[in-house]
């Protein structure tokens, strides 16, 4: 019951899964396009949700959202299930595979044996496509790996029922029906407006550009508030959330710039090309922050001055993003059909 599933490696798991599934069902789609249509770009600093016992900093919209929004905007009918009982979850997965349907699954990273050991930690919003089963092994297309991988049923069961923050509860998702016609351009406009709204307008201090500024304020206080050792742990964690395991670099900003470049052609909207370049500049700025932060971590000098300088870099990112998304919203609003 193996499905001929074309695996492609991408930077990020969920947008990669979405793009690969769309591709399988006959809509050629890049990862960037899936990410953009799904309104993937985001920022939030949520100190009361802990990943690895440290505050959650995220550069993308919540787990499941990219797949949900992309398929909805393209008019794809999808099925989605969560489970209480691991045995039922496995039976349902086998049933779907037997019916010839590649299945998306949310898993924890910690229990997946094909991950390099150093990358295994309790992060539960990973996505992959299961496309077959041979004996006691599942065949998996994990978009952040170069080649398809295999995973023992026992390990996948553990990964699908990982516990803690963002627990997947065996979540499965799959395509039920493709629409007869797509309006990719309109879907892209909806995705862009969505990202602009999320970055600028959500009236919560934790999210969007407000969230970046909040992180800057808090980060400047870490050395005093947490002590040197914990401050460095917190800082290293921000860098990991920004750069590790598939953000495509610069906390998804470079991936989003690639999307804007594609959208410029799709929508015949030249201003988007310039905005794509500005988005690249923001991504590069975030990478500068990562370099500076890693230097502080490596040198173990958690002086208040070093952290204040890092906070200044973050404020700069916030300022650039505020201007970028304001202009982006204007650029697509003027052209909406």
């Amino acid at each position: 019951m193996n499905i001929d599933f074309p695996h492609r490696q991408f930077a990020h798991c969920e947008s990669g899964v979405t793009a690969n599934l769309l591709n399988y069902y006959g809509l050629p789609c890049s990862e960037a396009l899936a990410f953009g249509i799904g309104g993937g770009l985001f920022f939030a600093y949520v100190p009361f949700v802990k990943i690895n016992f440290l505050p959650l900093t995220t550069f993308r919209i919540g787990p499941g959202s990219i797949f949900k929004k992309t398929t909805k905007r393209l008019g794809v009918k999808v099925g989605r299930q969560q489970f209480k009982d691991p045995r039922a979850a496995e039976q349902e997965l086998d049933r779907l595979l037997a019916s010839g349907c590649p299945v998306g699954a949310q898993t924890g990273v910690f229990w997946l044996p094909y991950f390099p050991p150093a990358y295994r930690f309790h992060f539960n919003a990973h996505n992959l496509v299961v496309y077959g089963k041979e004996g006691d092994e599942y065949l998996i297309s994990d978009p952040i790996f170069e080649e398809p991988v295999r995973c023992a049923a026992r390990d996948l069961r553990k990964a699908r029922f990982a516990k803690g923050a963002l627990a997947p509860k065996g979540k499965l998702y799959y395509f039920e029906k493709m629409p007869e016609r797509f309006d990719v351009a309109q879907a892209a406009v909806a995705g862009i407006k969505d990202a602009c709204w999320a970055m600028l307008k959500i009236p919560l201090p934790l999210v969007g550009v407000h969230g970046i500024r909040l992180l800057a304020r808090q980060l400047a206080k870490w050395p005093v508030k947490l002590g040197e050792k914990d401050a460095l742990q917190h800082l290293g964690h921000v860098v990991r959330m920004q750069e590790e395991i598939g953000t495509g670099g610069g906390g998804f900003r470079l991936l989003y710039a690639a999307f804007l470049q594609e959208a410029a052609e799709l929508l015949q909207n030249r201003p988007l090309l310039e905005l794509s370049e500005r988005c690249t500049a923001v991504g590069d700025r975030w990478r500068e922050f990562a370099v500076a932060a890693s230097r502080v971590c490596k040198g173990r000098q958690a002086g208040p001055d070093a952290f204040r300088e890092l906070a200044e870099l973050l404020r700069h990112c916030a300022g650039q993003e505020e201007a970028l998304f304001t202009d982006l919203h204007r650029a697509v609003s003027a052209r909406t059909r």
Partner: protein, 146 residues
């Protein structure tokens, strides 16, 4: 980021390559393979050092008879009592008690089995601890980052 600037600084990725988004010479975006980036390696190594340090503290506490071997395996699996409770289905207050050597020594096989199965080790292995932290990190060299 320019394609030529995509970093190739391998670290703890055990030979895996990921892709980065970068701009090629004529300004269009492409996917470029990367074998790692120093900024990221530093952050990752820093996180592992904290785990190793904590494991060393646990081992010292176990040798001194203040903690049970369970505390070592819990930290090795990057858990705290709350997360271990969720995974094992054993209430948190009981998990905390099991971290005491005297309570752990009297645990019955069923409870030991549920911990051992969760960690993917045998019961004998669960009741033992190594002399130094035994993390399977092939490329990890502590001297390098010091």
């Amino acid at each position: 980021m320019k394609k030529a600037d995509v970093p190739q600084q391998s670290g703890l990725m055990a030979g895996c390559r990921e892709v980065n988004y970068a701009v090629d010479d004529d300004g269009s975006y492409t996917l470029a393979p990367s074998s790692g980036w120093e900024a990221k390696n530093v952050a990752l190594r820093h996180a592992w050092e904290a785990i190793i340090e904590q494991l060393e503290q646990e081992l010292a506490a176990i040798r001194a008879g203040r903690k049970s071997p369970l505390s070592y395996h819990m930290v090795k699996n990057q858990m705290d009592p709350a997360l271990l409770a969720k995974y094992s289905g054993i209430p948190r207050w009981r998990v905390k008690r099991h971290l005491k050597p005297a309570v752990f020594a009297k645990l019955d096989r069923a409870v030991l089995t549920s911990y051992a199965e969760l960690f993917g080790i045998s019961i004998e292995h669960l009741c033992r601890v190594p002399d130094v932290p035994d993390l399977a990190l092939a490329d990890f060299d502590r001297s390098e980052s010091r």
